[in-house]
Assembly symmetry: C2
Homo-oligomer: 334 residues x 2
């Protein structure tokens, strides 16, 4: 691809002051004198890192990729088995692509608790990841924790041989920073909009709310397996009339109470959108003959095919926007 600019910036956040901590005597490097580090002072908190690649000639405008829980923007860059990520797919489709790390994740940095964050971080073990990302069943995770065999869902598309590479990308998370995270995403949407948002899991929950908060700034929204949905008024929903929504789901949802609840929750939200006159398409991949997708379709073996489904859906709604550059296949997606 012919690139005009690669860069990054920080969005949102505020300065907080910490008081009452004792100074630390710290030797940063052996051979150099120790430094007394004043632990009190002013610190940046709740800012968000945003990476971007702008094309020499962008035909489709800005597209924002928002990752899910325990992950960073790296999930869009490359698959763990070393294939191109969705960042590349959407650059090739003619978009300027913005990949952000949510507040407190990755390059967005994070802060001490309880002085700045209200709670302690939550860490996700490899076994927990195996189960919650629907690579294999919960029993397999428990076994794996006990040193047993890692059992995968039959026909799962996740590249299980690269699971150990994937889990290197997992980061800790907090459960007390949602309002700040939403604020940073809202600011990003208003800064880069009108924009297209493709968001995953926890990121998709923030994206659904971001569309409600700035409907004028969102051209279209793709929510990949959203965990959580907003609770808008009828008036707020009606303001989304020009913001088509696509909700996309993978396989193996029936057997997992957590994911069944997430799916049913999103079904109710989709109904509310449609009742308010908002276009909302919902695709369940296995009901369309595409089997085996985990909670991570952007990393699954058929990730390129799923990206094409998303890009074609966006293209059809973009009206005057030209065709994406990738090869088209004739497949029914809904």
């Amino acid at each position: 691809v012919n690139v005009r600019e690669i860069g990054s910036f920080y969005m949102g956040g505020r300065v907080v002051e910490v008081r009452g901590l004792d100074p630390l005597e710290v030797r940063f490097t052996s051979g150099l004198p120790p430094r007394t580090v004043e632990q009190n002072g002013r610190f940046d908190a709740f800012q968000m890192y945003v990476h971007y690649v702008k094309l020499a000639a962008s035909e489709a405008g800005p597209l924002l990729l928002w990752h899910g829980g325990s992950m960073t923007g790296a999930v869009w860059e490359r698959t763990p088995d070393d294939r191109p990520g969705w960042q590349t797919a959407f650059l090739e489709a003619g978009y300027d692509v913005y990949v952000s790390d949510a507040v407190e994740r990755g390059r967005s940095s994070w802060n001490r608790h309880p002085e700045i964050y209200a709670s302690a971080p939550v860490y996700r073990s490899k076994a927990e990841a195996w189960n919650i990302f629907r690579i294999g069943p919960a029993e397999a995770a428990a076994e794996a924790n006990a040193g047993g065999v890692w059992q995968a869902h039959p026909g799962v598309q996740f590249p299980t041989e690269a699971f150990d590479q994937f889990t290197k990308s997992l980061v800790p998370r907090w459960l007390s920073n949602d309002a700040a995270t939403q604020a940073a995403y809202d600011e990003l949407v208003r800064r880069t909009g009108p924009c297209t948002i493709v968001a995953h899991s926890q990121g998709a929950a923030f994206a659904l709310q971001a569309a409600l908060n700035s409907p004028q700034s969102v051209r279209a929204l793709v929510a990949i397996e959203p965990t959580g949905t907003p609770h808008p008024t009828g008036q707020e929903l009606a303001a989304l009339r020009d913001v088509p929504h696509l909700l996309l789901w993978g396989d193996f949802i029936e057997g997992e109470p957590f994911w069944r609840a997430a799916f049913e929750n999103a079904e109710r939200y989709a109904s509310a959108l449609r009742s308010a006159g908002v276009e909302c398409e919902r695709v369940v991949l296995p009901r369309n003959g595409i089997y085996g997708n985990s909670h991570l379709p952007m990393l699954d073996r058929n990730s390129e095919r799923i990206a094409q489904i998303v890009a074609r859906w966006l293209e059809q709604r973009a009206g005057s926007a030209p065709e994406p550059h990738f090869e088209r296949r004739n497949e029914v997606v809904s």
Copy 2:
């Protein structure tokens, strides 16, 4: 620039097991059922995130950019006052550019303590950053902490109006992970080598050691204000005979005991390199008529000029490598 591939991968690290912690009841999203999170299990630790941009036609080979303490690879992407970063400068000079986050920083993730990391994290306040990055004197930092005025070094090149944007990029650090960090860097050098390394501050200390650990894999090394130097044997030094070193320093060092010590320490190492027959050039910018550089020359107002000095020095040592693409100026750098 014409780009062949943008992506990322994870390097190094190992799996550690945590036992003895109680499970957590966690509600990740309101409206969805709570999950019981098993806090014990296997976790990835000490891995390193590496981002890369490969050119359609790379003339100069791979170049690795390693950031300093409290920072991430974002420091190379864009300046806080929104000018192109050194990632862009070296892409334009014909290199495939690899930007990594050190172990425990940014997208490399981090782990709990004391179960996995031996110590607690250290956080850097805005005032501490103002002083240690030599934007202004320690007294100014103390005043700033007390709510006073932020006083800058006279003529400092750092874009002080963008200081609040810069500090959003700072991340916590640990002091007990150096061996793991070195191992990940060593693995990266062997994987991408023969390569050129441009490293800053704490990253430069790791880079000097990485060259000793894998001399066959390093074509040239630029250490921007290294904090800390290796303690090699004469035989180890002699193995660097084909690895030219450039050590580059900014302004305002005399007045700061910590930085004077770092400089003198590096001077001793430079002498040892030269005694062993290794080419080692040391540039002190203000002694060459370039005044006002902070500890962050890649972000200073003259960052492009400093990148050119580095790129030209590298070009002269690359032998058959072609000229960098940027405009040349006639300036004496040493």
